[in-house]
């Protein structure tokens, strides 16, 4: 069902069990952050892993989704599910514009155009009054789901985040394993051949781009509701870099890779915080070690070892 191989179904089961069990062991707010980043990385992975498009500006969609959700939840008093959805839709709208411009070029030029446009969006966020400049949007209420379930308890918020994450994850998985996804992979492998077979590859790439930005916006919106803030960190280019690292570390073009990558990177940010200046040094060493020892990323290596596509 849904295009899961037996191994993937087993891995999915393990992941769902972990998502359900881990809040009993680990700190729920930390886990929610991991889930938001995992979803963001899944969206990014849809492009880089399955279409071969390196977008270096995904923070723009993530950050804008986060700003829109925060702003509407705070100023319009929208309920969280609507605020998150609106964040996703705005991410998607931006994705249409940025994607339409960027897919006209390929490879490095594509990456540079997305970077340039996302920097423009960053500057808009620095200057625009609604974002609150470098203070960001603060004190965003978590609100009530569907108007009656309060999300203030961390566990309630956790289940909502988990459901959003799982829905997004299945959505991406479904895209990748659909006939549409097959065309995307064909474009990744050999675009001229896909063209020669009669596919309008630019249309396919644009649709994939827009779907990815929609999920990125959803991830950003969820993060804003969880933490009650939306700030420039989320639109900054270093966030675009972080999602590249998460995906590389977890495994490009693997369905579960971004999730594992998000867990590892967030754990480093979180649990190494007490070591002060050593955070960046340790992060660097771990990244170098991973690039040297796990070329295909953590999940990619495991998959290669077991001869499975995860």
């Amino acid at each position: 069902m849904w295009g899961f191989s037996r191994a993937q179904a087993a891995a999915l089961l393990v992941m769902v069990v972990l998502v359900v069990v881990s809040p009993a062991v680990l700190y729920p707010v930390f886990l929610m952050k991991v889930l938001c980043f995992a979803l963001f990385a899944c969206a990014f992975n849809l492009l880089i892993g399955y279409v071969g498009l390196l977008s270096f500006g995904h923070a723009a969609f993530f950050g804008m989704g986060s700003y829109i959700s925060a702003w509407t939840a705070k100023n319009w008093g929208l309920s969280p599910e609507l605020a998150i959805l609106l964040g996703g839709l705005v991410g998607m709208a931006l994705g249409v514009i940025v994607g339409w411009l960027a897919i006209k070029r390929q490879g490095l030029y594509f990456a540079m155009i997305t970077l340039a446009l996302s920097q423009m969006i960053y500057f808009i966020c620095v200057e625009a009054p609604f974002t609150g400049g470098e203070d960001g949007i603060q004190q965003v209420p978590r609100g009530r789901l569907f108007g009656f379930i309060s999300l203030n308890p961390d566990m309630a918020m956790y289940w909502v985040t988990a459901i959003v994450f799982l829905a997004g994850f299945l959505f991406i998985h479904r895209i990748v394993h659909s006939p549409f996804g097959q065309v995307l992979k064909a474009i990744r492998e050999n675009e001229p051949r896909a063209v020669s077979l009669g596919y309008r590859t630019n249309d396919y790439k644009l649709i994939a781009f827009v779907l990815s930005t929609f999920v990125a916006g959803i991830a950003g919106g969820t993060k804003a509701i969880v933490f009650g803030i939306a700030t420039l960190t989320d639109v900054h280019w270093s966030m675009s870099g972080e999602v590249v690292l998460i995906t590389l570390l977890g495994g490009l073009g693997t369905i579960f890779g971004p999730v594992v990558g998000a867990l590892v990177v967030s754990a480093m940010e979180n649990y190494l915080a007490q070591f002060g200046a050593w955070v960046t040094v340790t992060q660097g060493v771990i990244f170098v070690a991973c690039v040297l020892a796990f070329r295909r990323g953590i999940v990619g290596e495991i998959g290669a070892k077991l001869r499975l596509a995860l």
């Binding site: 203070d135 603060q138 933490f227 803030i229 007490q274 002060g276 200046a277």
Partner: protein
């Protein structure tokens, strides 16, 4: 190869496990110093703030009064979500009672929300945003040391009184820079000065300020005000020095700069610069004694106003907590903060003072001029005092702050 991979996986798993701490019998008061330990603000907050808080623990005599105290340190990397995340985790998992320092306005405001939600004590001495005691004030937050209003009031008004009555601003074009310029303009004009013009430059990513400096020079203003911070301020000072702008008597005023900025720039370049701090190590015998104690813990870096604020805040908190008893101080952050506001403080860094109902610590602001190299007697002998603005003049009137605490 295989072994190293296993080793890496093991290390990652070990890092992901939460630290489990044994609970002691007597309640332990935990002070978390949350600041930048690895980035731009490491020198102005960082390890020296931690040293100051440890010094406060020693000076409070808390151990003698039967209090058990633990000091934690965390790196918020100047990211609000990381900062708020650490604050939540400290409070939920580690039982932290007080969060101190927290530079970077966005992080500072995010942590204020967490402290209020969890009813803990939050003593900010690192951030410059007036919102902490203004629109976003709450009953769990105290703001020590400074904010941009104080800086603008002192540098703007006191400089005009000293003869620098025509100004030109070089402003970082974002909310913080614009706010500094607006506040400073208010004080300059209120004191009878005139603002001849301003040049806004794109923020961030501007490193060449020559055209703005030449524009400022052409305006013939007596004072050039830098409404920016950090590396931009250093670049402005250095480039102004290279153009020889100060040689015809034009003064430079940095609206936000600390001891470390001047130390890093060097007296040769920074001489004559005007700036405001509410603490300087060489002000009087008490500040010198305090600094001597702290420097033994932080030998390469003298404390500035933010770090001294972390000291003073921690010291005042520990005195109140000792009076209330550790258990009741742990139980109710807002009540502890209310006691702190009601009790005047007296410490070596800031002397005697009190805290206003909006959470603002009332401190006089000192306008300093950076010494010439010939006047300096040591590595950290950098300032001479030019003017003092009393605490009331350095704080906005309560009614203007829009703090919800005050109207109720």
């Amino acid at each position: 190869m295989l072994l190293s991979r296993r080793g890496l996986i093991g290390a990652t798993a070990a890092a992901a496990l939460p630290a489990v701490r044994a609970r002691a019998q007597a309640p332990v008061l935990k002070l978390g110093v949350l600041n930048d330990m690895s980035g731009t603000y490491r020198d102005v907050s960082g390890p020296t703030s931690v040293a100051c808080v440890r010094q406060a623990v020693e000076d409070s005599g808390a151990a003698a009064r039967g209090l058990h105290i633990e000091v934690l340190s965390g790196d918020h990397q100047n990211k609000p979500d990381v900062g708020a995340g650490i604050a939540r985790q400290w409070i939920d998992r580690d039982g932290v009672d007080v969060i101190l320092d927290v530079p970077t306005s966005s992080v500072a405001l995010a942590v204020a929300t967490v402290a209020k939600e969890k009813n803990k004590v939050y003593i900010n001495s690192g951030a410059g945003t007036p919102d902490l005691t203004g629109r976003q004030c709450n009953a769990n937050t105290l703001h020590w040391s400074y904010d941009t209003y104080m800086l603008a009031a002192s540098t703007g008004a006191a400089t005009v009184k000293g003869g620098g009555d025509t100004w030109f601003f070089i402003t970082a074009d974002y909310v913080f820079g614009q706010q500094l310029q607006r506040d400073a303009t208010t004080f300059v004009t209120r004191s009878g000065g005139r603002v001849l013009g301003a040049a806004a430059y794109p923020f961030p990513d501007t490193s060449d300020f020559s055209s703005f400096l030449l524009q400022a020079q052409a305006s013939r203003a007596k004072v050039i005000g830098f409404a920016n911070a950090g590396g931009d301020t250093v670049n402005c000072i250095k480039q102004a020095h290279e153009f020889g702008i100060t040689q015809n008597g034009t003064r430079l005023a940095a609206l936000l700069a600390t001891l470390q900025v001047v130390h890093a720039t060097g007296l040769e370049t920074a001489q004559g610069l005007l700036l405001t701090e509410s603490f300087y190590w060489d002000l009087n015998d008490r500040t010198r004694a305090f600094t001597k104690r702290v420097v033994s813990k932080s030998p390469t870096n003298y404390p500035n106003l933010e770090q001294a604020g972390a000291y003073a805040g921690a010291l005042h908190y520990l005195k109140i907590a000792a009076d209330m008893g550790a258990a009741s101080a742990k139980a109710d952050g807002a009540a502890t903060v209310a006691r702190m506001k009601a009790t005047p403080f007296d410490d070596d860094a800031f002397g005697k003072g009190s805290i206003r109902e909006d959470g603002r610590v009332m401190l006089p602001a000192f306008l300093f001029e950076v010494k010439k190299p010939s006047e300096s007697r040591g590595e950290w002998d950098l300032y001479k005092l030019v003017a003092t603005t009393p605490a009331e003049g350095a704080a906005p009137p309560l009614a203007e702050e829009h703090c919800p605490l005050v109207h109720t």
